[in-house]
């Protein structure tokens, strides 16, 4: 049996949780057995009804006032009771910041490891394999899980399409699960979420983006890409490390912890293409990559590639646009 942990916010199931359901449906087709979805939070009955329309065996409602707001201690205590009562073969998590905060704790409590950031499932002669990127996306690994169940896996954003979810012929039964949870046992005391000062740059609206990565080597060389952006009428963006070092402000960041963009043209300059960056830009219509490493993972998503020194190629591009 597959147990999917579905997250909701303010009564709406999040898209990545639907992606996890789709992944579970593929696993079910490969012999992992029926799917149960546990919807976790406070006053989540509406979300449970929404999930019950999908082709799943059962929807479990894990509803407790102490689960709102989210805390790792609260979620782990609650989910441990569900996992122990339901005895799944595999527990599936969507790729969210909550998963990254609590899923490994749950796995450790069961003396298991968590296979994170999976992008696919394969069936091999020795059972199901989970496919995930390694070494910053330079390689992909097929991972076999072994030993006693349950196993724990999480799926990377956009590895499966939320709108590909199979609908059930009938509404799945919904069952409320009772748990014991004492607020006094929760060690984290979260305050209300907030946003930093308003973002100055909305990259999501840009038609053309020139994005720069580690290959630029130093803040003093940024004008090289800024001139190209100007010639193209494009916004300048960056991969996370460029913002971490303060070379460009955080609101220029594209990727899983920055903005998700889908421009007509995305030029990736000196960006190797770690999965955290790719998920933020692979929806662009035309992707161009300039990188000195022909094996850089960015070329996996690029329509056009130039293998070369960006300090030669980028000024040449700027010049060619002026011709």
């Amino acid at each position: 049996m597959i147990l999917v942990v579905a997250e909701q916010r303010e009564g709406v199931m999040n898209r990545v949780s639907w992606e996890a359901v789709v992944a579970a449906q593929e696993m079910a087709a490969q012999g992992f057995g029926p799917i149960k979805v546990v919807v976790i939070g406070s006053t989540v009955a509406g979300v449970a009804d929404e999930v019950a329309a999908a082709e799943v065996a059962e929807v479990l409602v894990l509803d407790h006032p102490a689960l709102e707001p989210y805390t790792s201690d609260g979620f782990v205590r609650a989910l441990t009771q569900v996992v122990d009562a339901e005895s799944p073969d595999v527990v599936v998590f969507p790729y969210t910041y909550q998963t990254r905060d609590c899923a490994a704790t749950l796995a450790t409590r069961h003396q298991r490891t968590l296979v994170t950031d999976c992008i696919g499932i394969k069936s091999g002669p020795n059972g199901v394999l989970f496919v995930r990127p390694m070494f910053q996306g330079k390689f992909v690994a097929d991972i076999a899980v072994r030993g006693p169940v349950p196993h724990f896996v999480s799926f990377q954003t956009a590895a499966y399409r939320a709108d590909a979810v199979a609908r059930g012929v009938a509404t799945a039964p919904t069952r409320r699960v009772e748990i014991e949870l004492d607020v006094a046992d929760i060690r984290q005391r979260p305050e209300a979420p907030f946003k930093e000062a308003k973002q100055a740059v909305d990259l999501t609206q840009a038609e053309r983006i020139v994005a720069v990565g580690r290959g630029i080597k130093g803040q003093e060389y940024l004008p090289v890409v800024q001139q190209l952006a100007k010639a193209l009428g494009a916004e300048v963006a960056a991969s996370r490390p460029i913002c971490d070092t303060g070379w460009l402000p955080m609101d220029r960041q594209v990727g899983s912890s920055g903005q998700t963009v889908a421009p007509k043209l995305y030029l990736a300059i000196g960006i190797s293409g770690a999965i955290q960056h790719l998920v933020g830009m692979k929806g662009a219509r035309t992707i161009v990559a300039v990188n000195k490493d022909p094996d850089a993972p960015i070329f996996e998503v690029a329509d056009y590639g130039i293998v070369g020194d960006l300090f030669e190629v980028v000024p040449a591009l700027t010049a060619a646009l002026g011709d």
Partner: protein, 255 residues
């Protein structure tokens, strides 16, 4: 305040990696290594907290003898002493095995705070810190962008959430935090620091490692298949640039 920092040694970012003859790991025998960058941010945060509030920074790494390089580097940047959990198996072991080895070494130290990077640049499972917290039975919080020592026995930390949202969380010490890259600006070792590091203690610990029980194993490591058919444009920089601009204008018409 005693702060422990877990750092991992990984293959240098620009090293031309190839899959090894087993097809399950990379050929790293002759590679150069460096401190996992996310862990460098955790170390820097520990050093800054010590500078503000006093105390001690103990750096801990699990792996084969070569790992002593990143411990020396951490000592040169300002850590007070180091623990090397030494075992060849730990270079490629799963996170629970590594987490147990680290937790066993840290338990006797009883630190007030344990810091780790968010994830490693090699395996990238992003969970070693969380696993260590559970094994030490201490509270944890992840993806931290600011740490405030708010009073005796408590800290207040700023978590990064999705979509530009943040959240402050108050939690008791001892606790473990996984630090988000970019929380601070990294310092580099000075010559004075490098000299001072030579006199600092590196304690070796032999972990009890049982590898046969790993619940996950890499059966195949390979270069990813491409989603798209990339057209590589060859020639000199000028020629390639001209052809690319032509293709963007005339073939895909993006401007």
């Amino acid at each position: 305040m005693k702060i422990a920092v877990c750092v991992k040694q990984v293959v240098t970012r620009d090293w031309p990696l190839r899959v090894d003859e087993t097809g399950q790991w990379v050929r790293d025998r002759d590679a150069s290594f460096e401190m996992n960058e996310p862990d460098a941010y955790a170390l820097e945060e520990a050093l800054r907290l010590k500078e503000q509030h006093g105390g001690e920074v103990v750096v801990c790494s699990a792996g084969p003898p070569r790992v002593s390089q990143v411990l020396r580097e951490a000592l040169a940047r300002g850590a007070d002493r180091a623990i090397h959990v030494e075992s060849d198996v730990l270079a490629t072991a799963d996170t629970l095995t590594v987490g147990k080895a680290l937790a066993d070494a840290l338990r006797v130290e009883a630190p007030d705070l344990v810091l780790t990077g968010l994830q490693s640049d090699d395996q990238g499972f992003g969970q070693t810190g969380v696993v260590v917290a559970e094994l030490l039975k201490i509270a944890h919080s992840t993806i931290i962008m600011e740490v405030q020592i708010s009073g005796e026995g408590h800290i207040r930390v700023k978590r990064e959430l999705e979509g530009g949202w943040f959240q402050w969380v108050v939690m008791p010490t001892p606790s473990l935090l996984t630090i988000q890259s970019g929380i601070n600006q990294l310092r580099y070792a000075t010559l004075k620091g490098i000299m001072a590091a030579k006199k600092k203690e590196v304690r070796k610990v032999e972990p009890e490692v049982t590898t046969g029980e790993s619940s996950q194993v890499v059966v195949d490591l390979y270069v990813p298949e491409k989603d798209k058919k990339t057209r590589f444009i060859e020639g000199s920089s000028t020629e390639a640039a001209r052809e690319l601009v032509r293709a963007l204008r005339e073939d895909v018409r993006v401007f």
